[in-house]
Structures are given as structure tokens and as C-alpha cells.
């Protein structure tokens, strides 16, 4: 894998991060931001960095597999069902985090405490707790179906080798991090300052997009 090839992959990820990822996966990092109210943005970013590290790891391994197989279609075809399941899981996670933000700050605290406080608490501990907990989450969500990453995996498959495919996908994945990290930082910053209605509205947005993820995973496609 040549230097220009890696730079091309990084550039595709970097540009796609702003032109694609923020729109398609921005709500996930928004959910991260909302799940850490009151935390300084710098501290709130630590689990996000771990999450991206996990995602980058998965992309790199998938790129290596594509390169080794020398075929995008064969590998992608085998993991399509698993990717749909991951989309459903990601949607469920976002719904839980969104509900925690939207409902947790209202007078329905009693319901949260009685019925779902443990669930919300567990989810929050994963995405806003120790960074090490977010890494496996990134590993799993790295399998989310994504047209942009498919393009990178086609390039990885075309390299025809394990190491070059891995490096190509790694460069692409690293390229996507700045945009999503910036979005996550903005969400964390906003989350630390937003109160009341706006904070709950962010939670509702995350719930809605999470529902879309679930529907997409179940192949009920809604326009977005």
C-alpha cells in the first residue's frame, strides 16, 4: 500500500466524515454528549475517543478481511444480516440514551427510577463512564451498515492483501474521526450548557433517530 493510496483513503474518510458521517451517525455522538450532562467537555470526550478507537479497530480488521478475500461482495454479503442486527442494537441504545435525556429531567423521575433507571444507568455507564467501556461499544458499532465505509472496503478489497487492505481501511477510519469527534465535542459542550427544554429536545431527537436505525435494521426504510 503506497503513501498516496493511504493519503487518498484518509482524505476520503476526512471529507466523508463531514459530508456523510455527521449526518448519518452524528446522532450517535450526540447521544454520547447528552449522556454526560454536567461533565467538562474534555472529560466527556474520553469515552468518545475510546468509542472511535473501537470503531477504527473494526474498520481496519474488516479492511484486512476484504483485502485477504480480494472481494468486497463476498465478505459484505456474509455479514449483511449481522450488520442489520447491529443497526437495531445501535437504535435501541440511542433510544435508551435519548429517553434518559428526555425523560430523566422531568417530573417522570419516579417512573424512571422504578422501571428503567437501572437500564438507563447501565447504558450511561457504558457511554459516559470509564473510557474502556466505550471501546467494545465502538468495536460492535463499527459493523453498522454504511455506504461510505463500503466504498472504503471496496478499495481495501482491491488491494488484494491482508496488510494493505487493513492499512487502507485504517487510514480511512482515522480520517472519519475528526468530524465525528468535533460533533461529539459540540454535543458535549452543548449538553453541559443546555438545560430544560432544549436538553430534552435533544433527547427526543436522539430517540427519533434511534427509532430510524431500528426500522432500517428491520428493513422498514423511512426517508431521512
Amino acid at each position: 500500500m503506497s503513501g498516496p493510496g493511504l493519503l487518498f483513503a484518509f482524505g476520503m474518510g476526512f471529507l466523508g466524515g463531514f459530508g456523510h458521517c455527521v449526518g448519518m451517525c452524528g446522532p450517535i455522538v450526540l447521544a454520547f454528549g447528552l449522556s454526560a450532562p454536567g461533565q467538562p467537555p474534555g472529560r466527556a470526550l474520553q469515552p468518545q475517543l475510546a468509542y472511535h478507537l473501537g470503531r477504527v479497530t473494526t474498520y481496519a480488521l474488516l479492511g484486512g478481511a476484504m483485502g485477504l478475500a480480494g472481494s468486497f461482495v463476498n465478505v459484505a454479503g456474509r455479514m449483511a444480516g449481522f450488520q442489520d442486527a447491529v443497526a437495531v442494537a445501535a437504535g435501541a441504545l440511542m433510544i435508551a440514551l435519548g429517553l434518559a435525556a428526555a425523560v430523566g429531567a422531568t417530573s417522570v423521575r419516579g417512573i424512571e427510577g422504578a422501571l428503567s433507571g437501572k437500564v438507563f444507568g447501565a447504558v450511561r455507564r457504558v457511554v459516559a463512564g470509564a473510557p474502556g467501556r466505550a471501546y467494545p461499544l465502538g468495536l460492535v458499532l463499527g459493523f453498522l451498515p454504511c455506504g461510505l465505509s463500503y466504498s472504503a472496503f471496496v478499495g481495501a478489497a482491491a488491494t488484494g492483501g491482508l496488510v494493505p487492505g487493513l492499512l487502507f481501511a485504517l487510514a480511512f477510519a482515522v480520517g472519519t474521526v475528526p468530524a465525528l469527534l468535533a460533533a461529539g465535542f459540540a454535543a458535549a459542550l452543548a449538553s453541559a450548557r443546555l438545560r430544560g427544554f432544549l436538553y430534552r429536545a435533544g433527547g427526543v431527537l436522539v430517540v427519533l433517530v434511534g427509532s430510524l436505525f431500528v426500522l432500517r435494521g428491520l428493513h422498514f426504510h423511512a426517508p431521512l
Partner: protein
Amino acid sequence: MRPLGLASAASLLLASALAGCPRGGPAPAGCDLGSGPCSAEAGAVGIRLELSPRPLRPLSEVEAAVALTSAGAPLEGAEVWLRLSMPGMYMGENRTSLEPLGGGRYRGKAVLLRCASGRRDWVAEVAVRPKGGPEARTRFPFEVSE
């Protein structure tokens, strides 16, 4: 990295940056690559594109067959590229070079991707660089079946 390598990478990045912008000649009306071949004129070049096998399905490999003419004769010796993109959504660089078969015909393989949102509308853009002539491009919209 050598300066030449950097320049190449920078060119590729610039191409990538421009990738989200609609470009090329007007799309031919009333033609769907999912149903059969489509033809268009791009400047002095006649371009006919066929994708197969049909129906066109996401996450599958397709064969792209291009036939070029210029002034009524087969256009030989051109560099031909096929790029697949989604209108209004950057989906990365999905571009393939087509190999000449002779008689103005060019062929190559491409991969149809899948959009997680469920969108099925794509654009196939054919870029032709004839020897010593200006580059010609045309775009053919199409839909994949689920």
C-alpha cells in the same frame, strides 16, 4: 513520501472533494440502466452504457460495458472511467477504469453499494478522455432493486 506521490495524493483528494458536486453532461431522459442500456451524446462523443446482470442489486458486482463513437465511427484508444455515486450524498470514491476491447468497446467491473437509509437512486457517470481530445462526461441515473 516523494513530492510526486504527494502531488498525486493531493490530486486524488481534490477529485474526492469535488466528488459530491453534480457534474458531467445532462442525463438522458426516460432511460433507466436498470431496464437496459442507455445512450447519450457528450460533446462529440457518443456514449452507450450497459450494466449487467439485471436487475441491479445493491452489494453486488456488475459488469459495465461502454461503447463509444465519434463522428459515427468507433472511438478507439480512449481512457474510460465509470464512477457510481448517490445524488446529494457523498458515498466515497467508487470509481473503476474500463479496459478497451476493440471496436470502440470498453469493459470493466464495478460494485453497487447499499445505502443504509434505504435510498436506491444512484448515478453512473462515464468519463471519456480521447487521445488528444477534450474530456467528455455524461451521467445516467438509475435505481437498484432491493
